[in-house]
């Protein structure tokens, strides 16, 4: 059954339909939130809160975007709220990214661009580079690359215009490229 059918079922009192929605989007939301905050326990909390908020406000789901987009929007709001509560634990500014970690990332990305070596050691490095992006760029990149949302929906989820979403995406990719291939700039 598609999302709309499950939403209607939930609103008609079939809570088991909502369980299906949870199972459908649980891992996607976990990945999205984890990439934004890089903390397993907090990600768990935020994913649970996201689903509870979605359930509570399901009657207000207007269907302007997909249910998947709506969930990401709620999750992002939860992340922002969590970050406000712990502003001191922001991401590491670029100045603090060490030479050695950059070199490690460049080697890793070079291996990946050359087709990969089967060594999964570069994956955490790429993750850490995404984690170094400012929150808005990180959100846009994560929604685009990992959640496969169109820019129109990314704009809705992040609360910006579609063009702004594209510009943020451009900045993020350019910055990642610079971090990976500093010698080309």
């Amino acid at each position: 059954m598609d999302d709309v059918g499950l939403i209607r079922g939930t609103l008609a009192g079939r809570r088991e339909d909502f369980d299906v929605l949870v199972e459908r989007y649980q891992k996607l939301l976990y990945g999205f939130v984890y990439r934004l905050i890089a903390d397993h326990a907090q990600t768990d909390d935020i994913v649970q809160m996201t689903f509870l908020q979605a359930y509570t406000h399901l009657g207000q789901f207007a269907g302007r975007a997909s249910f998947k987009t709506w969930l990401h929007q709620i999750a992002l709001n939860q992340v922002r709220a969590a970050r406000r509560g712990q502003r001191r634990h922001e991401q590491v500014p670029m100045e603090e990214v060490t030479e050695s970690s950059l070199h490690q990332a460049q080697v890793a990305a070079g291996a990946a661009l050359d087709g990969g070596t089967g060594n999964s050691g570069w994956r955490p490095v790429l993750e850490s580079l995404i984690a170094d992006l400012p929150l808005r760029q990180r959100s846009v990149v994560t929604l685009r690359i990992f959640s496969d949302l169109p820019f129109k929906d990314i704009a809705l989820a992040v609360g910006i215009t579609e063009n702004s979403a594209k510009v943020n995406y451009h900045h993020a990719i350019t910055r990642l490229r610079q971090w990976l291939r500093e010698d080309e700039v």
Binding site: T10, L11, G13, R15, F18, D19, V22, E23, Q26, K27, Y30, G31, Y34, R35, H40, D44, V47, Q48, F51, L52, Y55, T56, H57, L58, G59, Q60, A62, A109, A112, L113, G116, W122, R123, P124, L126, E127, I130, V141, R144, I145, F146, F151, N163, K166, V167, Y169, H170, H171, I173, T174, L176, R177, L180, E184
Partner: protein, 209 residues
């Protein structure tokens, strides 16, 4: 590289990496790319990096974790009140007002209010009754209309119908419209009418003479 000019192509580069745009915009971009290695590199990154990053996956916390999380969400959901279909009117209005055409909506609402006020304040239009309206009246209403007419013009003598009376009856029907729907059962005396009403009635009757 001209940074100012490159800024104009940021959105086009993103679109191009996703297989858009087509037409003149694409041609402009290609002309720019031919002379701008920085944007060409950015376009390559926009095409290649997503695929690379897609291969980096978040560590899977394991099936036990997913099951436990689903159970906790399910349990919490069952302790919450059921969600309802209804979109609250206030929220609906708020969304409506956030649309780009909210100015038009506001103007239309103001016009509607103004029209309503005008319609309420405006006196009811003079009715244009025809003999058919008289024919449609039942005998009781017709008798009351005769009484009504006599109360307004007691000196007219006999109240028997004759051709001239039809005009009087139509005038009386118009006056009835003027003084209100309850006027027929409670036949007003001339003394019950205020000066304005008397003037209107006088004009109506006088105009037919």
């Amino acid at each position: 590289m001209n940074r100012w000019r490159c800024r104009r192509y940021r959105i086009s580069l993103v679109d191009c990496a996703a297989g858009r745009p087509a037409g003149p915009e694409r041609q402009r971009l290609e002309r720019h790319l031919a002379h701008c290695p920085a944007c060409a590199r950015n376009l390559a990154a926009l095409r290649e990096l997503p695929a690379i990053f897609q291969r980096s996956t978040v560590a899977d916390p394991g099936e036990e974790f997913w099951l436990r999380q689903r159970r906790e969400i399910s349990r919490a959901v069952r302790n919450l009140p059921e969600p309802r279909w209804a979109v609250p009117l206030a929220a609906w209005l708020e969304r409506l007002y956030q649309r780009p055409w909210r100015a038009a909506f506001t103007a239309a609402a103001a016009a509607l209010v103004a029209l309503t006020v005008y319609r309420v304040a405006e006196p009811p239009p003079a009715s244009q009754h025809t003999p058919r309206d008289l024919a449609a009246l039942d005998s009781g209403s017709l008798a009351m209309l005769h009484d009504f007419m006599e109360a307004l013009a007691p000196d007219e003598g006999e109240s028997q119908s004759h051709p001239a009376d039809e005009d009087m009856l139509l005038a009386a029907l118009s006056i009835h419209d003027l003084v209100g729907a309850n006027a027929l059962p409670e036949v007003p005396q001339a003394g019950d009418l205020n000066e304005e009403e008397l003037e209107v009635i006088g004009n109506l009757i006088g105009g037919m003479g």
